[in-house]
Amino acid sequence: MILKNLLEYIGIEPGRVHFSWISSAEATKFQETAKEVVSQVRELGPAKRLVKDIPMEAA
């Protein structure tokens, strides 16, 4: 929460970063969370902040 607050404080869009506590026994929760993360991030579109473009040949 502290890190998420900090990232949102510097302008990373809410919904871009997700944190969740999921036990290895909680398959359903994992699936639901993954779906939610994907849909929220898809809504926001490609990230423009803190993105570093590395040319393919250098990577």
């Binding site: 990232l7 404080y9 510097i10 302008g11 944190f19 969740s20 506590w21 803190l50």
Partner: protein, 315 residues
Amino acid sequence: MNETTQQIRAAAKRLLEEGRVDCVIGYAKGTVPMQEQPYFAYTPEEAENLVWTGFCTNNLANFLIRRSGRNAILAQGCVSRNIVGLIKENQVKREDVYILGVHSPGMLDAGKIKAEFPDKVITEVEEDGEEIVVRGRGFEERLDRKKVKRNNCYTCTHRNAVLYDEFIGQEGPQTGGGDIDNVAAPWESLDPDQRWAEFESTFKDCIRCYACRNVCPLCYCDVCFVDENNPQWCGKGLEEPDVFTFHILRAFHCAGRCTDCGACESACPVGIKMRTLTSKLEKDIRELYGYQPGLDLETPTPLTVYRPNDPDVAE
């Protein structure tokens, strides 16, 4: 020479003569004006070089890390809080350090003083009570001390050392008078785009000299994440995402530990205001966990313990 300087020298001399400590860590006059330097006095004669001025902005707690022998250390409020933190984090043994507590009058910001005299070279600054006398070639002017204090010193809440073996002089007022909540986390009221714009403009000038990290008594990892090569967490150049990543993580590593001593900002050669980030963390930790770093040796640092009723336990 001010009274506190005399008292510090006398105490340091006595401790060294009696053989109670091997070294007294304090400040000596810097080689350039407005920047005192950390100083290690090993003999009673060397103790004569110690000074106490408004430019003692380095956090001496930094020098206790990985240091052998018995050391005495001069500690104003913030430094003493960092010593408490280091003891809690098992970096310093309480019995190995003799703390000379002192009251901080609020330290001065060399950058602000220089800004008052844009075209002049300052050669000497003398403190005279609530005023300072700034001298250079062909000029001498007096300034109100309050106007040129460091930002973090205005909102200080613990000017007296919180833990000490001996107190130098008299304890003074605890606060700097300002309210931290009026200035902490300055970008909170902005929308994400404005926040990012502010963040970019604040940190884009960073040259990654790492002075902020090196003066910080919280940064004592054997290998810092920015120096590590395998894996390389973060690029080493001046590309903005790498520069920003360094600052975000440097600040985050201070969460629940930063005492707002301001050494990072004082050390920065390009005048970056790192407290825009650390003040947000300090505020969150205070509001979410009711914790202020370094006030006692017992309370555990919030991010080192788990409680079922922690505010950030995911639903």
